[in-house]
Every structure is written in structure tokens, then in C-alpha cells.
Amino acid sequence: MAIKSDVRTEENLIQVVRDDGTVLDKKLEPEIGEADLKRLYYHMVLTRAVDDRLLRMQRQGRVGFYISSLGEEAAHLGSAFALKTEDWIFPQYREPGAAFLRGYPLLKYVCQILGNSGDLMKGRQMPNHYAYKPGRYLSVSSPVGTQIPQAAGFAWGAKIRKEKIVTLVYFGDGATSQGDFHMGLNFAGVFTLPTIFFCKNNQWAISVPLSRQTAVPTIAQKAAAYGIRGVRVDGNDLLAVVQVTREAAERAREGEGATLIEAVTYRMGAHSTSDDPRIYADESKIEQWKPKDPLVRFQKYLAVKGIWNAAFEKEMTEKVQEEVTKAIQEAEKLPSPAPETLFDDVYAELLPHLKEQREEAAQFKHLGKHKE
């Protein structure tokens, strides 16, 4: 069920499901079994619920900082779902759902946000900056765009070793301005690498609108500079995202090279809890986008399919709320990372100068509490 043509203009946005949940183009509707549809819905609900709770906890001072993915759930869940388990994901910071789908435990997620001793990152990174190797999920870092050539290189490694895997890399519209975007896509073009460059175009980079990132109307058309495929998809349409990503993954796996997918969506809140969009953004835009809510659209799709109903919703919501509450309660019990862990993992082994510094630091261990 291949998509017939690359769609690169502003008007031509690949869409599968209408706002009312009915299918626009049956030919493009991806085949997804009922269990998977339910699993996807669960993850949509979970992702939104966690975001909501942690945002509130941030306001209460229980969390230092948080980045919400509100309204962008379909873009990252649909694309992550379209991969095979042997594929690898190079994340940006705004796709918690993709991590959950890859098995990142909710408790570990909350521990990361709290930066406590339960965190796999050992409390070293800011909230929303995680890695989960068992789920083939690479490490989020703040510098915008750096993961793009890395994803190409990882896929290249697999290609050299003749392993048929695909890498998918997430980034925002802002990231397309970086040199790393250019170099990553160019390497992928030149070496025909099995990478999916997945741009979540939420139309903002903090306070800078898309029109300040590029003079062209679409991100997808930038593929033309690299000899790779470019596709533009409705990022709030889970089904459409699954479909275009599946196709891209299939092509990549068959040796046909990389695809740049532009998932058009909208940032439905602040950039992060440090941001205040009232200073720069027209809030009516958010109102305009509300009817396109990806969760509601998917709900309606499931309703049309006879999967979703009020009872199902209740079951999901309760399950998710319970899980989230439990994870938060457990996570909040855990202490800070032990001070001496500061010196671990700089290198695989503790080098002599770090051993010395660790010993020196040990004298001041009583400082173990934060001054906020």
C-alpha cells in the first residue's frame, strides 16, 4: 500500500483520517491489528497524562523543569510504532511516548525527571534528557541537531555490517537550520543510508517562528538538495504518520536510502516550563489547532472502528492515572544520587586524576543537599 508520490508542497499534506475519525483515503490506511491500535491509544493517553502531571508538579516546585509534548503525541508515537523492534531511535527531547513504546519504564521516566538515584542517567541530565539502551533508544542531548549525523552514522555502521536495520532520528523545525542537519542528510544521500529523518515541525523554536528558520514553505522540500525522498504528513494524524513512516522504513530496509519526513503539527503550549509564549505568540493560533487534537482524532477513528467507547475510555484513563500516580509516588521516595557517582562514567574506568578528585571531594560530602 505504497504512497504514490512524494508530496512536498504546502497544500499536499498526507492525511488519512478526517477530524471526525472517518478515513479519507482507504488506500493509505495502514494495517494495524486491534491489539496494536489499543496499545497505541494507551500510549497516547499515557503520554498526555504524564506530561500533564509533571507539568503540574513543576508548578508545585516538585520538579525542576519540564518539556511537554502536548499535541505532538501522534507524530512521535506513530513514527516510533512504524519501526521494527530491531530499529534504533535517535531522540530529540519531545517524544516521551516513543520511549514508552520502546519499554522505558514509567518509574524510570519519572526518576529521570526528578534526577534521583532511580534514574538510569544517574541524575546527571536535565529533565527530559534520557537514554534507554534496552529499547534501542539513544541519548537525548540539549544541543539542537547533533543527533542527526549520528543517526546517519549508526545506520551506516549497520549497512557496512549488512544488518538490515533502520535508524529514525527526531528533531524539530529549528534544528533544520543547523549545519548538522545538512551534513547528516548529505551523508545519508551520498551513502544511501537507511535513516528516517523525522522532523516534528511544530512551527516554533522557542519564540522563533518557522518563517525565521527557512524561506521555503515546507521542510520536506529540503530533501531535494540531498537526493533523498521528502514527505510531508499531517503530524496530528496518527494513521498517516504510521503509514508514511512504514513506507520510509521499508524503503530504507530495502536499500533505497533515506527519507525526510516533515510531520506538520503545532506546539500547544510553552516551549518548556522556563518559557512564556504570551510574550511572543498569538494565542489564537492554539485555539485554531485545538480541533486537530491528535488524541481526539485517533479516539474518533477508533470509535468509527468500534474499538473506542466510553467504557474503554474509562478503563484506559483509570489504568493510566493509577500507573502515573504509582510511578510518581515511588519515584519521589528515592533519594538523590550518591555524591561519589559524580566521577563515574566520565571514562569506562576511573582515571587516576579523577580518583584523586573523588577523594578530595569526599571531604565535603556533607554538602550533599541542594541549595535551590
Binding site: 525542576g64 523543569f65 534526577g115 534521583n116 541524575g123 546527571r124 541530565q125 536535565m126 534528557h129 542531548s141 540539549s142 544541543p143 539542537v144 541537531g145 529549528g174 534544528a175 537550520s177 543547523q178 549545519g179 548538522d180 523554536a205 522557542i206 519564540s207 522563533v208 525565521r212 528558520q213 527557512t214 522556563s274 518559557d275 510574550i279 511572543y280 538523590s336 544520587p337 555524591p339 557517582t341 559524580l342 566521577f343 566520565v346 586524576h353 579523577l354 578528585q357 571531594a361 571531604q363 565535603f364 554538602l367 550533599g368 543537599k369 541542594h370 541549595k371 535551590e372
Partner: protein, 324 residues
Amino acid sequence: MPTVNMIQALNDAIRSAMRKDDRVVILGEDVGKLGGVFRVTTGLMDEFGGDRVIDTPLAEGGIIGAAIGMALYGLRPIAEIQFSDFIYPAFDQIVNELAKYRYRSGGQYGCPLVIRTPSGGGIKGGLYHSQSPEAYFIHTAGLKVVMPSNPYDAKGMLLAAMLQEDPVIFFEPKRIYRAAKGEVPEKEYAIEFGKANVIRQGTQVTLLSYGAMVVEAAQAAEKAAAEGIDVEVIDLRSLVPLDIETVIRSVQKTGRVVVLNEAPKTCGFAAELIALVNEKAFLHLQAPPLRVTGYDTPFPYSLEHQYLPSVERILKALKDTAHF
């Protein structure tokens, strides 16, 4: 004189530079409507318009590359790098281009570009919102490198930066952006580069520092005084050019020196200061010069106050050197 914080002082400095000289423009990510993520450029777009207060695409290499072009053209650009942790995509433009343009053209061209960037830890920023990369730039011939520690200096040094004919890396210690308050004249004034500030006179130990650590230095000196150690605290302010005379004069008097900075220890600026003290005041040294610095690890999130030099750590170094 109004009492303001460092953000206000910097805003004030940029505003007066822009009022005085219409060749001054400011460019960077989010510097326009938002006024910068720390609000240093608040209100400037309203006053000077989008041609002179410019939100750029998200590309530090492009920002600095373009700003070099602007400076070559004859503007007096100020480029903001949102966090100094994000300056590295522009490293080639800074190190190979900006720093060397005058030299390599035999003096035909100069690049008077001021790069402002918040640096340092203490705001729970983790690996990528806390770094103190000044050593990279100090090691690069052709750049001037400065870091104020209070609102008065922030304004005077930024206005001085705008007068330089050469590139300036202007580090802003973001930890004290709001915390450091002080009286700042409304008029323009410039604090000459290469002049340190002896913020506390003392006779027994010289404590060298700059940026946010000056606050800790002063506190540690007070505590040391309580324990009978008389510390001279010097705020270096300008790292290149360095006021080595003031440093050496102090060390000649005290014979003991502690260098404090929050950047990682190895190959940091503290090492340079110790080497200089050795070269210029060896016979005066009565104890080994000590360093109190960040550790040689990436900057952590939860443990940042274990990482950052604390008053206690500084105090211990002061005692160790005083009682050596």
C-alpha cells in the same frame, strides 16, 4: 543611582550603545520579541526595530559567521549565544576566522564583534546549560575574554567591549544574573579591559577569581577572617588581557595564592594563573598555589552543588595554604 541586577545593567548597556551608535545591532536566537531567554534584550526590539534586534535561525555557526561579515562591513554587531554550552557549533568561525582575521590579512581588516553568552552553573541546567568554556577562548590568540561579577562591572565592561577594535568574548555569569544587585550609574562609563579589581584587601593569602565565583570568594574570605586568615580577594574581570601586575603585586605581599574558578580543573585558566605566578613571583611563594575548580567531569544536574566550588572548599584551600 538606581539599584539594579545584572540583567538590567546589561540591558541598559546595550540600549545606550545602540542609542549612541546606529551601527550597533544585536542578533541571536530569541533576542527579539522574547527579549532573550534571560530577558537581557527585553524591550530592545520595540525601541530599535527588527533590523537592529534580530531573531536568527537556530544556527550558532551562521550567527557568528554572519556577524563576522557584519563587523567586516563596518557594523558593530553584538551576537548572543543563548548558552555558552552552545557556542561550539560556532567554534571554527570564532577560532579560525574571527580570532585570526586581522593577523592573516596583515592588519587590513579587523573584526570588532562582541559575543555575549551566559555561562556557568548553579541554575540546575545539567550538562548543557552550565558550562564554563572560557579556557578554550583564552587559549586562542586574537580574542579578548572578559567576565563581570556584578551589575556595575557588567555595564561598564560591556560598554568597554563595544569600544574594542577586536573581538570580545563576553561571558555573563548567569547564576547571578538576578541575584547580584548593585548601584549602577545611568550615564555611560567604560571599565578598561585589563584592570582587575581588588575587592578585599588582605595580607596573608591572595584569592583570585572572576564571574559568579567572586561571590563565593568574598564569602570564603569573610569566613577565613573569622578564623584569623586575612585574605586579599581579586576579581580579575578581564582574562585577556590580564592584569598580571595587580596579581603579582598581591602575591608578592601575601606569598600565598588560591585560584578559584568553576570550569574543569585540567588545563583551565587557574593553571595559567599558577604558571604566571611561578614565572613572576616564585621567590615570594611561601606555599604551593592551590586551585579550587570544577572537577574534570561533565557538569552534573542533581549533584551540581557537589560539583561547584563551595565556600567550604574554598575555605579549606585558604586554610591549607595559610597554614602550609
